[in-house]
């Protein structure tokens, strides 16, 4: 690489780099710091506040004021534990359903005639561009007590009385699967589309039954896409707020809702920060694997 090109590399990298350090990395460190602080009736509502003017004494006071009290609160109150467990359970179950629904669709797309494929991709992507909030709201229209689903089911004679759909786990799963389906289909499709069909023909020529060829050839080759899709769904679902808030019941909350409540209703910023730190810690592993798959997909071509 020539000297001038490497100078250009520094220039192009610098602005986005600094931006992300300032608005993505530093904020995390602040969350970490505030999670070790105490709630205070003040502005900002936490202590200790770092006082740069006080010099070394200020630093000592600051460090001395930090404590793990908020994490002890999280550990001692079942509310938080249940929220985390529920988030991880919901994210796992929803991801499993998404794989079950997404795989046949992605597979059919990859098997469609070549000229139709861009259109199919666009049809799958289009709802993803539409507002998240609107898509969740659309389901309230359908799932409410006198909504279209109950009307359709009773018109068909399947139910005598209206069924309660809203504020149930079923509604949350419907909303999650609906909102995240494109995230599952697209990476899967990308893997399946690249699949060399001559491999399947070779398997068939050698007398391998189709279902066996599917399990021993198609599925293993689709695994990178499956992994990327599953993580692309699992990670954000674990911290999901809008869907459980609008479609779910109030008796069980996911951790995203707990964080929201601590912050907006209880104004307890330090506990909200501690909730966030624990959630990030839980998600660091999946995020790292996702980044690895993503980098390989984009840069490995």
């Amino acid at each position: 690489m020539s000297a001038s090109a490497s100078r250009w590399a520094k220039v192009t990298a610098l602005a986005p780099y600094l931006w992300l350090v300032a608005f993505f990395l530093v904020p995390f460190l602040i969350v970490l710091k505030i999670s070790l602080s105490q709630t205070a009736i003040a502005q900002p509502p936490y202590l200790p506040v770092f006082d740069i003017a006080a010099g070394w004494q200020g630093v000592k006071d600051f460090v001395g004021g930090l404590s793990f009290a908020n994490y002890l609160t999280l550990a001692s109150d079942d509310l938080y534990l249940f929220s985390y467990l529920r988030s991880l359970t919901v994210a796992t179950v929803a991801t499993a359903i998404l794989v079950l629904f997404g795989f046949p669709i992605a597979y059919a797309m990859a098997r469609a005639p070549r000229r139709l494929r861009p259109l199919l991709v666009m049809l799958i992507v289009l709802p993803f561009w539409t507002s998240f909030l609107i898509r969740v709201y659309a389901w309230i229209n359908i799932l409410q007590r006198d909504g279209l689903l109950n009307e359709a089911l009773s018109a068909l004679g399947l139910i005598g009385q209206p069924v309660t759909w809203l504020a149930t786990d079923t509604a949350v799963y419907i909303g999650l699967v609906y909102s995240y389906l494109p995230f599952m289909i697209l990476p899967l499709y990308a893997s399946l589309e690249k699949l060399d069909t001559t491999l399947l023909e070779a398997a068939a020529d050698l007398g391998c039954p189709r279902w066996k060829a599917f399990w021993t050839v198609t599925v293993p080759l689709a695994l990178p896409g499956l992994g990327a899709g599953a993580l692309l769904c699992f990670i954000p679902i674990a911290g999901e707020f809008v869907i459980p808030d609008l479609l779910g019941g109030s008796d069980t909350t996911m951790i995203g809702q707990t964080l929201w409540t601590e912050f907006f209703a209880n104004k307890d910023w330090p506990v909200a920060s501690a909730v966030a730190v624990v959630l990030v810690t839980l998600l660091v592993g999946p995020i790292a694997i996702y980044q690895h798959l993503q980098a390989r997909e984009i840069e490995g071509r």
Partner: protein, 264 residues
């Protein structure tokens, strides 16, 4: 040409129906004359007329549009630069951290991004409002722009750039005359995605906004919590139409770029 098997056709049909039916129902019911959401009272545009009277909703829409435009423009510049740096320069100090900071916001739960940015703004003692939401949205959406432009750069013939440089064209001019026009479809698609993500965001905006900067999703959310209303169906339909036009435009632009031979 291979044809789709019946199973595959069924999977596609059901999948697309599942994705589109709720949106279609929402659009149809926004034209319902009846105030009762479930009773069909004939076609009407009265809820659209009602929207025009709703000054709070119009203000929110204008604020959202402003934030979306400014943040998408910033995100496009920063995201494209990041994509160039990541694709062109395999090794530089801090590349690993850089890539991590690009990919993490794509999957990071929004409540965490929102909370952390708010705490930064509070620590800096910034007045929250239009400006802070714009910064927050830029941070999130530039990462999406990077991914889109990166995939465009991946199938890029560099010999043209090298030819220009060999002939003495300075790097800045080479970029403007050769590189930028070639990656333009990706850049435009990135801008449109950033725009629609910003227009759509509820959670991050809720954390980072302040008095006087209620965005459209925040406004819609506060109405939706109280139940389904025909006016909300109408505003949602307008938003869907805006985004649909943008997406179709983006895909046509993308296509016009792809039909040309690589590097032409």
């Amino acid at each position: 040409m291979r044809r789709l098997s019946l199973t595959n056709l069924t999977a596609l049909g059901l999948g697309l129906a599942f994705l589109y039916a709720p949106i279609a129902i929402l659009v149809v019911y926004s034209f319902n004359a009846s105030r009762l959401v479930t009773v069909w009272g004939g076609w009407s545009t009265r809820w659209y007329a009602a929207l025009l009277e709703d000054q709070a909703m119009i203000d929110a829409a204008l604020i959202s549009l402003g934030i979306a435009l400014v943040s998408a423009a910033l995100a496009t510049v920063l995201g494209t630069m990041a994509a160039l740096a990541l694709t062109r320069f395999a090794r530089f100090r801090g590349r690993l951290l850089f890539a991590a900071m690009i990919y993490a916001p794509l999957v990071m739960p929004e409540v965490i991004t929102g909370l952390s940015l708010l705490l930064l703004f509070v620590a800096l003692d910034l007045d929250r409002g239009f400006f802070t939401v714009t910064i927050a949205h830029t941070t999130l959406t530039m990462c999406f722009v990077t991914v889109i432009v990166q995939s465009r750069l991946a199938g890029f013939d560099r010999s043209l750039e090298e030819a220009a440089m060999d002939l003495g064209c300075p790097p800045g001019r080479t970029f403007l005359a050769i590189t930028l026009p070639l990656i333009m479809p990706g850049v435009i698609a990135g801008f449109l995605l950033a725009f629609s993500l910003s227009l759509d965001d509820l959670v991050i905006a809720s954390f980072t906004t302040g008095p006087g900067a209620t965005t459209l999703p925040i406004r819609i959310y506060s109405e939706v919590r109280l139940g389904v209303k025909p006016e909300i169906n109408a505003i949602c339909t307008i938003l869907i139409a805006v985004v649909a036009v943008a997406v179709v435009a983006a895909s046509l632009i993308g296509k016009s770029g792809e039909t040309r031979p690589r590097g032409a």
